[in-house]
Structures are given as C-alpha cells and as structure tokens.
C-alpha cells in the first residue's frame, strides 16, 4: 500500500493495438510541448562485435527516412525554435523534441515516421563512423571515462553491462551498415516503445492524433529481455591505469540491486548520505547531479580533510543488478594509497554504525523537497514520466518515494554492511604520469 505519492501532473495513459504505450500529460498553461519516445533498447541488447550499436542507431535516426531527407528532421524542428536530441544508455534509448506548443505536430510526424522507417544507408553509416569515433575520443580524453569503462569491464564478466554504451573501439571500426539495419529492425518498434507527450495541448485531441499517426504502424520489436546473468563475485577485483592527468583518481564499485528491487529505498538513502543526493531525487535544477554537497559524508570525510578535491557516490538506476560506485579525486600531493584507505575506512564506518538520526532526517527532507520541482516545465515532465514508464509505469516513482520515506536507519545500515563487503568490490585506480602536458 503506497501512502506517500509524488505530486505530478495528471496523466492519461493508454496502449495501442500494436503495443505502443502512450502517456499524455497536458499542462494547459505551458508555452511548449515536449515529445519523448523511449525505447527499451540499450547497450544491454548488444553483444561483442556490435557493441555500441544502440548508440550508433540513435545517431542514424537523425539521418533521414523516405519522408525526411538528410538534415530535414533537424531543420523541421529548429526552424520553429525547437530543440531535439537523444541519448543512449545501458537499458534504453530516448529521443526528445521540445517545440513551441503550436508546433506539436512536427515531432509527432517525425517520431511516427522514424520508429519503423529510418534509412540507414551504407554511405551515411560510413560518414557517421568517424563522428562516433570522435565522440568516443572526446570521452577518452578524460581519465574518469577510462576508469569507469575499466571498472565495468572488470566487475562484469557475463552481463552486457561490461561495455559502455559508446561501444568498444574495435567494434566501431568494424560494424557494418547491415548489422545496424538488422539491429534497428529487430528491436525498434511499437512493442518496445513508450511515447510521452507533455506540455500545452488538449489531451483528447492529441490522443486522437496519436492514434491516427501511430495506430497504423505494424506491431514490431523483439523481446528485449536479457538472458545472461552475472555470476556472484567471489573476491575483490582491482586494476590500475596510468596516463596523463592531474592528480590520482579512483572509483570503487560494489555489486548493487536493480531499480525496483526491495533494496531500492535503502540503496538510494545510502547514496544520499554518502554523496549528498541520489539520481531521480536531486535538488539541482538539472536532471543530473547538482552542485557540491558539503554536508555529505564523503565531502566531510575526504574533501574537508584535505585528502580529496572531489568525492561523490552514484547509484545509476538500472533494469538489471548493476554497480554502486564511489569516486574521489585526490588533492595535489595525496597518494592513491592514502586516498583509497581513507575512502574505504569511511565506508566501513557507515556499514558498522549506520547513518545518524540527523542524516536520516536531512536525507528525507531533501528527497521530499526535490520532488516539488521535479515536474517544472514540459521537457522535464516528459523526461521523468518517460523514465519511470519505460521501466514500469509513472507509479513506480510513488512506490520508490514511499519506500524512501519509510526506510529505517537500521535498514540503511544493514544495506551498507551487505553492499560494502570487501569481497564484493572492484577498485580501479588512475595514476597520472605527469608527462605529456605540453609546453
């Protein structure tokens, strides 16, 4: 029984005969309309040889269809002042377009077209290959990316979470246009999609328009469930990378539950106590993490004490069991050993003593306050409704929120003791070589 609910715009939800799920959130006063299509397709649906396919297909869906020539999707939206983009994660891919409300028909036309009719031509795939390479190269310039990629590769041996959504370099070099077309034909389609529309529109008229545009699409999209499961971890794993950079940096990952499992509220609480906030319940004005959190455990224990210049935790919500990570960047002159032992001591203390009553109260307040502004604006509304809908339904947010307000300090402590067990951790350290900084 859910007692505490998040205050969010009223929604109208329905499914079409072809399997497409639709969520409408009319906000009559909004000057904009935001259209989101979330596909339950991400890098978990890939395999070695085609890692990065989901992300590459995402790029190709902007490159045209029989109805929209190359560049015409961008032009159609941007000429009216709209914005559009997409992002690919491990578990899903999302496309969004926000336009002045009177132009809602533009994104509806684009999305209904490219859901099944995107052209993925050999020529465009060849040209996009270097663009994808370049995107990966830009990420590789950051030690943080290299460490995270290594961390997941080390922590997972079977499950597809072991590669990044950008894909492996080798696969980007060799994947063919036909492989991308096959991937798109197999997974993209009405059965794996959720359409979310938020903002200034009439619900009844828009529902009819959605049926008219998306109703005739064939019921496509293979089962996306992942069969591989990751065997239990039996002992610590670690690696050390070396390369250009500023100061020593490390990430520690712990095997963590999937979003929606019973342990979800306690894990989110741990994230908030350690790092100051948890994804989906952040007080920042953006969608991701906000600024520094000086009252958090990691900040007080590592940054205030002069050991680190940055320290935070993260539990990215995932469909399958993933990782809870803790990361820290050393202050100049602090060694990796000192940084790591201080960080692990801090985690041990939390696992032994649990959070204080003050930390519990403050975390609850933060989460409660964060939900007040979570639905400001059509774009944010579309994002948030889509996120929970693609995982389950908008009500999933209420279930988690309710759990967050009920969880006890003891449960959080028990969770920490289980999560931060030494034999469940993976450590990747980055040692800056101090060379190659030019002149």
């Amino acid at each position: 029984m859910v007692r505490h609910r998040v205050h969010r715009p009223a929604t109208r939800e329905f499914s079409l005969a072809n399997g497409l799920r639709v969520v409408l959130a009319p906000q009559p006063e909004s000057p904009t309309a935001s259209v989101w299509v979330w596909y339950r397709v991400g890098s978990v649906n890939e395999h070695p040889g085609i890692t990065g396919a989901s992300h590459w297909v995402e790029h190709m869906l902007f490159q045209g269809s029989p109805r929209y020539g190359k560049g015409e999707i961008d032009r159609a939206v941007i000429r009216v002042g709209g914005e559009l983009n997409a992002f690919t994660g491990t578990d899903f891919t999302a496309y969004f377009t926000t336009v002045p409300r009177e132009h809602l028909e533009i994104p509806l036309d684009i999305e209904s077209d490219r859901m099944t009719r995107a052209l993925i031509t050999d020529t465009e795939v060849a040209r996009e290959r270097t663009v994808i390479h370049s995107e990966r190269e830009g990420n590789e310039n950051w030690p943080e990316f290299r460490v995270e990629e290594e961390l997941y590769q080390l922590a997972f041996r079977e499950h597809p979470y072991r590669w990044d959504a950008l894909g492996r370099r080798r696969d980007i070099e060799t994947m063919s246009a036909e492989q991308l077309r096959a991937y798109y034909r197999r997974f993209y389609g009405t059965r794996n999609a959720v359409l979310v529309i938020a903002g200034g529109f009439d619900g009844t008229r828009t529902a009819a328009e959605v049926r008219r545009r998306f109703g005739p699409l064939p019921p496509t999209g293979d089962d996306v469930r992942v069969r591989e499961s990751e065997p239990g971890q039996r002992g610590e794993r670690r690696a050390e990378l070396a390369g250009p950079g500023t100061t020593p940096y490390l990430q520690v990952g712990f095997r963590a539950p999937a979003l929606g499992e019973d342990a979800t509220p306690a894990t989110m609480f741990l994230d908030t106590v350690l790092g100051g906030e948890t994804r989906l319940f952040t007080t920042g004005s953006g969608w991701g993490r906000s600024a520094e959190h000086p009252s958090s455990r990691l900040y007080r224990g590592l940054v205030d004490t002069g050991i680190a210049v940055r320290a935070t935790s993260e539990w990215p919500p995932r469909v399958y069991p993933g990782l809870f990570t803790v990361q820290a960047q050393a202050a100049a002159g602090v060694s990796l050993d000192r940084l790591e032992s201080a960080l692990l001591r801090l985690l041990d203390r939390l696992a032994r003593d649990g959070p204080t009553a003050q930390e519990m109260a403050e975390s609850r307040t933060k989460m409660r306050r964060a939900t007040l502004l979570a639905y400001e604006g059509a774009s944010r509304t579309g994002f948030r409704l889509g996120y929970f809908s693609v995982l389950k339904s908008p009500r999933l947010e209420d279930e988690i929120f309710d759990g967050l307000l009920r969880v006890t300090a003891r449960e959080v402590r028990d969770r920490a003791a289980q999560l931060f067990a030494a034999d469940q951790r993976t450590v990747v350290r980055y040692r800056p070589t101090g060379e190659g900084n030019g002149s």
Binding site: Q27, S30, P31, T32, G71, D74, I78, R79, G81, G82, E83, L84, T98, P100, R101, A126, E128, R129, V131, H133, S134, E135, E137, G138, E140, N141, W142, L154, A239, E240, P244, G245, T246, T283, G284, S285, S290, A291, H293, P294, S295, R300, D304, G306, V309, R310, A331, A332, E362, T365, K366, R369, L372, L373, E376, G377, A378, G436, G438, S439
Partner: protein, 432 residues
Amino acid sequence: MVAESHDPLRFRYLDPLDGLRVVYQPPPPGAASVTATYVGPAGWGFDAPGEEGAARLVSQLVTSAAGPYNRVELARRLDRAGGTLTRQCAPESAEITVWGPADAWEELLRLLSLAVLEPRFDPEDVERARRQLVERQLREAAQPAQRAERELLRSIFPSGHPYRTTGTGSPRSLRRLGRARLARFHAEHFTGEGGLLVVTGPAGPEKIRAAARRRFSSFPRAKGPELRLPRPRAIEPVRHTIALAGRSQVDVRLGGPSLARGDVRFPAAFLANEILGGRPLLSRLFQRVRERGGLAYHASSELEAMRLGGYWVAAAGTGADRWKKVVPMLEDELRKLREASPTTAELDLIRESAVGEVPLSLESTSEAHELAVDAAYHGLPEDHWVRWPSVLRQVRPAEVRDAARAAFGALGAATVVAGPVGGPGRGKPSGG
C-alpha cells in the same frame, strides 16, 4: 494571452537600493520555483597583479559559509529549504544564484543575502577552495579542450588584458591569497553600486522590493570598481600546436577579439555567429565538419559579447588523423562569413529559429531568469525580450556580413590545436 504584468518576458526595474539595481521578473506560467541572482563587479578581470585567482576563490567561498552558518550548516539550511546556491565567475562579473521551491522564497533570499554580504572565509574553507583551484589549474594544463581555450585567450589578448586569462591564477598567486586579501577583494567588489539583484518568482514586485530592502541594504556605500580595457590592437595570425601525448582527441580553437554587447551591430553579429556555428545542427560549421565531412563529433562557434568588449571562438574536437583537415575548414567558413552576405533563405531559417526558441526559455523559472539577468546586466529595456524578435527580423543579409567583418577577425585571429597532434598515442592501461 498573458497579461503584461505577468509576462515573464517583461521584467521590471524597481527602485535602486543605495546604487544596487533591483529587478523583478514574473515566473513562467505553472512554474513552482523561485530564482534570485546577485551580480557584482567581481570577475577575474579585477584580480590584482600577483593575486590572480582571487575572484574565483571569493565567488566560491561566498557560497560556502556565511553569517552565523559554517559550511555544513549553510548546506543544511539550503537542503531544508530545498534550494541550491551556485556561483559563476567571468572576466567582468561574478554571479551568485539561489534556486528552490517558490514557497521558500523568503528563506532563500535571506541565504543569498548572507552569502553576498556576510561570507565568513573560514580558514579551513579557504584552504579547501585553494586545493580545488590548484587541481583546476592542473586540469587546464592537462585537458586538451581547456588547454586550447586557455592558450587561445593568451594569444589574442595582450598581457594585462582582463580577458586574457581564465582566472585560475597560478600556484604562486594562490599561495599569496590569504583570508585577509580575499576578504578585502570581497569588500571592494561585492558592492551595491555597480551591483544587480534579479528575482524571478511569484511573490510580486512589492514583496520583492520590501524583501530586497530588508536583506540587501547594508552594502558599504563605496562605489563599485570599474574595469578598463587596453586599446584594441591587431593580433598576429598565429597558430599554436600543443602536443599532449596520451590523449585521444585533438581540440581546435580559432578565435579573436570581438564586439561588446552594447555595440549597435550586436544583433547582426549575433545572427552571424548563429550562422557560423552557434545554431545547433543548422550552422555552417556543424554542417560542413560533421554532417558532410564526418570529421568531428562537435563543431561550433560562440560569440562572447561582454560589457566592455568581447571575443569569438570557433571550436571542434577531432581525431589525431583529422585535425589537419578540420582547421582549414574552420578558416574557410570564417572567410566566407566575412566575404559574402548569407542568402535570404539561410538568414530566415536561422533567424526564425532564434525567434522561435524564446518560448522554450519559459519552461522553468531558472531558464526564464537567465534572460532577465542577461538583459538587466547589460541595462537593456524592460521589454527587450518582447522586442527581440522584431529586432532580429529587421536585420538584412548585408548587415550580417558587415557585422561579421567587424566581429569575427577584424583584429586578426589565432588558432590553437591541442592534443595528440603527432598521432593517436593512446595511453595504455598498466597493471591490472
């Protein structure tokens, strides 16, 4: 139809408080938050010689601990109100912004006033901020994008120019900046005179005026400092290539000095930049370098028009084997922008896109707030954003070309290339 008094595109200048300009902006319809910003003449252009880094440290420290609250207690107060306190430092000014639920607006404004007027500069906070800025200095040297940006500014502005640096200072200058010097910088630069307070939220102008009088009337009466720019001078068309081994991507920057925001040619120069690389997905740089050339993930340009002057930058991130193709493309597009007027069709497309995006800025209080801060900081009329579409629609193609000549490269341009310029040279993991 939104009544004028509730139109977030129209802000209102309220009566100044001892020189502090106060602005009220109605929130966008349906918005649930409040945003307030103090802007002071506290940018790094004011850093004294040998004390570089002072402005950045001070803007960080005012958001750390203030009035009766140490760093942890201030964070807790903000958390309780559901708010965040952030800062932004630039060459000419520093901005301190508070954002949070509308029902907590009085408490949030109180916390903002404490930060602006009564920062504590606790010794342990000063040490921490200094450590963080040292790491940022290292990052500017080590990361190709930041390094290219830093070297470009050094190449296009002479020694002593306020725009020449990124304000991070050096390890030596930071060592000199003790508590007393930072407190002095704060007293001289977080002033009423020359300062600006902008509040966006549902409280209404009367309540905001009263709250501002209560919270922000204790500034010292001293006049805020003024920044002066050296006379503009032509720059050498140099190209710096900085080899940073072990990275994957090469970052390219091409840029030069440009116009101030108050220049009458600014609207045309704004459109020129949108055509060159400012407008996402449609710009010439994006189309040529990424969409047709397939050479880079990003290619764009930016026109940084400030109160006294400005600069422009064209940027791309590309591979070690591709940057030699990308640099001539950036140079060529710059040349074409300066030589020929855009076609009416191209100008119309870009212009209508810029006009159409204004409603998108009204999705949230914080986005609408940025419009008001920008216009009020530059002393623009209260209905500036209402009139902006017609201002843009009056610009003719030849005016775009003329403005491009004045704003993009009139004094020359420099190019900086930073990254694995000698080849891919990827760092290999060791150990494991």
